[in-house]
Point group: C2
Chain length 207, copies 2
């Protein structure tokens, strides 16, 4: 049950287990690792190892209790006080992320959105008000913001990142196409769409 550190590769698979388990009909009360592996395209041993890191385990010949597994996964992701997050860069991408990402399911609360464009500042995106990016430092500093989402143009990204980390952010979700420099204790998670296009493009050429 719940080991100290769960490897990144496992963490990325956990939401898949959760969404698959939730998609099962209610009468499926137990499920085997083999069945899950089959459905999700993973190796069965991998499934057992992954599940072992959040659940109290299954029973031989029976499998895992689906309800308990769902509970364990949701508790793992949602547990603790929710972390404040801000998003910077409210172009189409920032707008889409604010509206469509399930931040709350992972214990995040988007407290505000920021942009440099006067035409956008003051508008709303769902529940969230868009503030001037010049207020970013003061806002984050005062509000205990732990996660910053960067959806600005590449040339603004490093500046925004510095402001976020200076004001105490501990993790950055980076949608810009550049590599950000951060203090050692800050986690950068790159969501580089350009890199993905590179892989897809190369794959098609190699056919």
């Amino acid at each position: 049950m719940s080991k100290q550190f769960i490897p990144k590769s496992t963490l990325q698979r956990l939401p898949h287990y959760l969404s698959y388990l939730k998609s099962l009909p209610a009468h499926v009360s137990t499920i085997s690792a083999t069945a899950i592996a089959e459905e999700l395209g993973y190796h069965q041993v991998q499934v057992r190892k992954d599940l072992a890191s959040v659940s109290s385990g299954g029973r031989p010949k029976v499998g895992y209790q689906t309800a308990a597994l769902i509970y364990d996964l949701q508790r793992y992701f949602g547990r603790g006080i929710s972390d404040n997050a801000v998003i910077v860069g409210m172009g189409p991408l920032g707008y889409a992320l604010t509206l469509t990402c399930e931040f709350s399911a992972f214990g995040f609360r988007i407290v505000s959105a920021f942009d440099f464009d006067e035409k956008v500042i003051g508008r709303r995106c769902g529940e969230i008000e868009i503030l001037s990016a010049h207020r970013l430092y003061d806002f984050c500093n005062a509000g205990g913001v732990r996660l910053g989402v960067i959806a600005t143009h590449a040339d603004l990204a490093q500046d925004v990142c510095d402001t976020l980390t200076d004001s105490g952010a501990l993790a950055i979700w980076n949608f810009s196409s550049i590599r950000l420099k951060v203090p050692q204790d800050v986690l950068i998670f790159d969501q580089n769409l350009t890199a993905s296009l590179a892989v897809l493009s190369a794959h098609l050429k190699q056919l």
Copy 2:
């Protein structure tokens, strides 16, 4: 120069080299792997290995010709006839992807966008017209579409994916949160934002 297969991990770094090299002032005519590694936070040996896969190499004591390197990288990504691509699901995310991703820099041409929502069908997103998703199969089948971008809700994603692969698509860029089942020869590239949130959330909890 240009080996047969370039590993995925290398491919994902190549765009970073390109954007960094392009950001250099014009008078920087040569650059060492060490300098690039320092700037991008990679290991210097990794940089040399990566660059070896697309360039004709550098010179000891001098480094790499920046202009030649930029040329080689751009040629690698852009080479060949451009691949037709479609995007399905024109909610905020599909809309943002269509407008902000540099498809053309990687040899892709978005030929059309699709949605199931009558309110959206017929509108435009930049240059692209939004068509009814019911026309997806016929359109792709006739148009030789090679890449499908899926930005629909999770519950529509597998159906859309089937339609795309049935009509001849060879690669899928999947923004939905589910695992898609595809024929063996089709490449799935998951861009699962939910998985990223899981990693970020777990990291902050483990502090």
